[in-house]
């Protein structure tokens, strides 16, 4: 794999050009919507057992990049990916790779809570049932365990047969997290999970992220600088400098470093609130 690190990007941590123990190993990745080159030359390691935050102004491609990581962009016609993206050493865009199987291993939480209009129980049991778990007692255990890990069990344990849409937005978002955790994913992608919900639920979600990151590598896209600083171990800053031009990864490193001693002037400007 004769690639180099992206020339424009500042790396606080040295990036090596061979598969590492990184959960995601991304080198020189480009992404197109039709003719539009939305992301260019992204190279990045996502470390296991940690929380990585993607930050940047609106439209900077961070969500697009996140959706490349479980091939959700495949669902949009005319999208194209070039470069290398390995998940635990396996090329996720390799020929013959089944995106459906990939998505079983890489869970995703969206900005708008999107529980199915079914009971809370059925929501959480959805993934396990897809994978063939049928025994009621097994499902019961998975549902309880997942809801506990999502910090929601205490609130819903007596109303499991209630419609998933009948609880508050913040509870719905935690229900979605429980639904994803029920299939034991290796990675959890979170696309601005806290921007549409109440502060109490935000607190609970941030807590659970810290609690589960040892088992599940977490990547979170957020607009909230404080949140990135609070919950993440690593931070990557994306930026589209000129409208119509591809977005780039400006800088990536340990969250503490990015927030206190950013290498790139643009990172510093963004973090100190000078734009975006």
């Amino acid at each position: 794999m004769a690639t180099t690190t992206a020339p424009g990007t500042k790396y606080a941590l040295e990036l090596v050009n061979r598969p590492t123990d990184a959960t995601y190993y991304v080198r020189n990745m480009n992404f197109w919507y039709g003719d539009f080159n939305a992301l260019t030359d992204i190279s990045l390691d996502v470390m296991p057992h940690s929380v990585t935050a993607f930050i940047g102004p609106s439209g900077c491609g961070k969500s697009t990049f996140l959706r490349c990581m479980n091939r959700m962009n495949d669902l949009i016609d005319g999208t194209k990916v070039e470069g290398t993206m390995l998940l635990n050493g396996a090329d996720i865009y390799g020929s013959g790779v089944d995106p459906v199987d990939l998505r079983r291993r890489v869970g995703m939480i969206f900005q708008q809570p999107n529980p199915f209009p079914q009971s809370i129980y059925d929501n959480v049991a959805y993934g396990p049932r897809l994978q063939g778990v049928k025994r009621k007692s097994d499902l019961d255990d998975i549902v309880e365990d997942s809801l506990k890990r999502a910090n929601l069990w205490k609130e819903v344990k007596d109303i499991l047969d209630k419609n998933g849409l009948a609880i508050s937005g913040g509870q719905q978002q935690r229900l979605c997290i429980a639904r994803v955790l029920a299939v034991q994913p290796e990675v959890l992608l979170m696309d601005e999970p806290c921007s549409a919900i109440d502060p109490t639920s935000v607190q609970k979600i941030e807590d659970l992220m810290t609690e589960i990151k040892d088992e599940v590598t977490i990547i979170i896209v957020t607009h909230n600088m404080q949140q990135a600083a609070r919950v993440s171990d690593y931070t990557s800053f994306f930026l589209q400098e000129v409208a119509g031009q591809p977005a780039v990864l400006v800088e990536t490193g340990k969250t503490g470093d990015i927030f206190t001693t950013p290498i790139d002037k643009r990172t510093e400007d963004y973090i100190t609130g000078r734009f975006g």
Partner: protein
């Protein structure tokens, strides 16, 4: 008032002319909306009034449960027509509803825009074909085929089912597609992101979520089928007899009313109005069912944060 020249700080009073104009417009809109209500009421009142002698002269029980219909003998039992309508409608639904629902799933979930833009107008066009044309098609094309395959003249329930099932496809498919499209994209994404295939997403998430809307669509299609007259009249044979096989002629409420209306008088005419009233009640019951289901659905997903 967006009068930028008024800088004195005084508020301008609403003029009398504006008040009158606003009130007049509101009344006009109300009257337009009220015409529908009035029409329903008047038609039902008229039909009920014309049908009312049957209580004393035929007897409601004999009318509803009599299996014999004979104008010469003044015997008016509508069971053959009730059954005829039921058989024709049920058969049309059994064939047409799955066809229409699967079409709507294809249009809403699977088809690429290019394909969708060909199929959807075609389906909608089906709704625009006059029913006499369907009937004509039934007489000229379907009936001979049915006759060749099953014997008889080809006029009976089977031909009715084939024609009517095509006729209700646009009603059901369009409404069912609306129901599917109203399901938020987010829950499909959620399902895909869980590692579900497209089929699993449709079968386990989208269809259950749209269930009520789809059932509504089928019920409205049923209303369309039960009320359809011309095409049915042309292909079912119109013999006032009980169901005697899929190729034996039968008659329905609607076709019987049309056939009798032109020459009937006296008790015969009363009986026809009685059948019209029954049709009216059936339609009303169908619409009411749809309404009640929609309300029930709303209640179920309503947020009840306070309880938590």
């Amino acid at each position: 008032m967006s009068d930028s020249g008024n800088k004195t700080g005084k508020l301008v009073m609403v003029s009398r002319a504006t008040q009158v104009k606003e009130a007049a417009l509101a009344t006009l809109f109300f009257i337009c909306a009220f015409v529908a209500v009035l029409a329903v009421f008047l038609i039902f009142a008229f039909v009920a009034w014309k049908a009312s002698p049957l209580f004393s002269q035929i007897g409601l029980w004999d009318f509803l449960t009599g299996t014999q219909w004979s104008v010469e003998d003044n015997i008016y039992g509508i069971v053959p027509f009730l059954l005829g309508s039921l058989i024709v409608t049920a058969g049309a639904l059994i064939i047409g509803a799955p066809l229409a629902v699967l079409t709507s799933v294809f249009l809403s979930e699977i088809a690429k825009p290019r394909v969708r833009n060909i199929i959807r107008p075609a389906v909608e066009l089906l709704a625009g074909i006059p029913s006499v044309v369907y009937g004509f098609f039934g007489v000229v094309v379907v009936a001979p085929l049915v006759a060749r395959a099953g014997g008889g003249a080809g006029f009976g329930p089977l031909t009715g089912w084939i024609i009517l099932s095509i006729m209700i496809v646009p009603t059901i498919a369009t409404l069912s597609e609306d129901a599917l499209k109203s399901i938020p994209m987010g829950i499909r994404e959620a399902s895909f992101a869980m590692g579900a295939t497209q089929w699993q997403t449709i079968y386990k998430v989208v269809l259950p979520a749209a269930k009520i809307g789809i059932i509504d669509a089928v019920i409205l299609g049923m209303g369309r089928a039960i009320g359809e007259t011309m095409a049915v009249l042309m292909v079912v044979g119109n013999a006032p007899q009980l169901f005697a096989g899929i190729n034996a002629p039968i008659s329905t409420l609607t076709s019987q009313i049309v056939l009798g209306m032109s020459y009937s008088s006296g008790l015969h005419r009363t009986a026809l109005f009685g059948m019209a009233a029954i049709l009216f009640l059936i339609s009303m019951a169908l619409v009411l069912t749809v309404r009640l289901m929609a309300r029930d659905q709303k209640r179920k997903t309503k947020k009840k944060d306070k309880r938590l």
